[in-house]
């Protein structure tokens, strides 16, 4: 299998890549390539040109500071997994990354690429929402940021413009006292999330849940926050009963996908069960 013909340009800088995108409206950005290249081989995607951003050195850096982290768009899953600062402050990232695809996907796939591709069954889309991240974006009109809550529109669709490039993923510092985690039911053949739930909880000194960001992937057309569950937890002292009752309603109101492997009912069940599990562990119950 091989893709349709395309022109290839290896970008030397972000500006160079944006200029190429501007001059080639049917061009696509090639990052880790582990979603785009399989799609091109199946001819689900047939861009006339690719701009390879893999050699732009500035996009690979990972910078972890007390007030947050900046992860270059070309940082691979394994680069992030192996970063000690990330593992200490955002343990949800190595936890979720261990569940992505397989060893080779983790070696070449990128956080930025995953967010730009916005696969409905990707893992880090939900983690990005739960961590309340944003992306730094550069386009012909300069730089801007897009908050996680404003990024995902639908299946494989985001608010990124076609001539814009993600340069980094920015994560705020999590709450001082927190619990976080990711629970996933993987498709046994593809490894994609049939359902995945990411949760980041913040606690006050007396263990009251002060903030909750919980997001689902796999079940819906885009990664989506479970605001009903978040509201049920916020301001409360978490108990097994409360978590169980809030998680039992996690799938309420979601527009859930069904397919040959997992029906809508089964996915709804998984949303509730995995929400209970991730909250139980994140709350230390």
């Amino acid at each position: 299998m091989f893709p349709t013909e395309f022109a290839y340009h290896r970008a030397t800088s972000v500006q160079d890549a944006i200029a190429f995108l501007g001059a080639n409206p049917d061009a696509k950005v090639l990052a880790g390539g582990h979603s785009l290249i399989p799609a091109m081989k199946l001819r689900l995607a047939a861009p006339g040109a690719l701009v390879d951003i893999g050699r732009i050195e500035s996009l690979h850096a990972i910078d972890v500071r007390p007030d947050g982290a900046k992860i270059g768009a070309m940082a691979t899953y394994n680069d992030i997994r192996d970063n000690a600062g990330i593992a200490r402050i955002y343990p949800i990232l190595p936890e979720a990354i261990a569940e992505i695809g397989d060893a080779q996907v983790r070696e070449r796939g990128t956080f930025g690429g995953s967010l730009a591709h916005a696969d409905p069954a990707a893992d880090l889309t939900a983690v990005f929402l739960a961590l309340n991240g944003e992306i730094a974006v550069t386009g012909p009109n300069g730089d801007r940021t897009i908050k996680a809550d404003d990024l995902f529109v639908d299946l494989w669709t985001t608010t990124l413009e076609t001539d814009e490039i993600i340069t980094s993923v920015i994560l705020p510092a999590p709450p001082a006292s927190n619990g976080m985690g990711y629970e996933k039911h993987a498709h046994p053949a593809s490894g994609y999330a049939v359902v995945g739930i990411a949760a980041v909880l913040g606690f006050s000194a007396d263990k009251t849940c002060e903030s909750a960001r919980i997001a689902v992937t796999g079940a819906t057309s885009k990664a989506t926050r479970l605001t009903g569950v978040e509201q049920a937890l916020t301001g409360q002292k978490l108990t097994a009963e409360l978590v169980s009752s809030a998680a039992g309603q996690a799938s309420d109101g979601l527009d859930i996908n069904g397919d040959l492997y997992a029906s809508e009912e089964y996915r709804a069940h998984l949303v509730n069960v995995l929400t209970r599990r991730v909250l139980t562990s994140a709350a230390g119950l």
Binding site: H34, I37, P38, K41, L50, A103
Partner: protein, 171 residues
């Protein structure tokens, strides 16, 4: 009358494969696996599923274990690549190759080159993996013959062997 499609130019790439430098012209859409097999004649790297699932095409690109069916040859310009053909040194099998031989880690052998390349990468990162870690790290390599039992034993054999020689050289 339909217009002829615009001619896509080939690009010149220079890369090192198993210690030998090559300069070749490639079409941008040529996958690394086809470049290795068809242009360099290194047919030890196999094409299995061709959909990034099976791992028969795994090679090492600049130290990263890579499915060569999911990378274009142009992306590998300047890279150092090791394929299954480059693993043995001076006629001696790599301990992972020896493990697959000793523990009967293959039947038809189709998945074996990729399985071995992934196992080498696994042991480089984690010299003493548990059985569970071996199985998890080899999830991207599919074998339809063995049921994986002897593959796991082959990796364990190699881990033991490499641990012994590491200990010996430390003395």
């Amino acid at each position: 009358m339909a217009e002829a499609p615009a001619k896509i130019e080939t690009q010149r790439i220079t890369l090192t494969v198993n210690g030998q430098e090559h300069a070749e012209e490639v079409e941008p859409r040529m996958l690394l696996v086809h470049f290795l097999r068809d242009q360099l004649g290194l047919t030890g790297t196999h094409v299995g599923c061709d959909t990034s699932q099976c791992g028969a095409c795994v090679v090492d690109v600049n130290g990263k274990t890579t499915k060569s069916c999911t990378m274009f040859a142009v992306q590998a310009d300047g890279a150092e690549i090791t394929t299954i053909e480059g693993l043995a040194s001076e006629g001696a099998y790599h301990p992972v190759q020896e493990g697959f031989w000793e523990m009967h880690g293959l039947q038809c052998g189709y998945c074996t080159p990729g399985m071995i390349m992934s196992s080498v990468a696994l042991l480089k990162r984690n010299p003493h993996p548990s059985e569970q870690e071996i199985r998890h790290e080899l999830e991207g390599n599919i074998c339809r013959c063995t049921g994986y039992q002897n593959i796991v034993r082959a990796v364990q054999y190699a881990a033991d062997k490499m641990g012994e020689s590491g200990a010996a050289s430390a003395d």
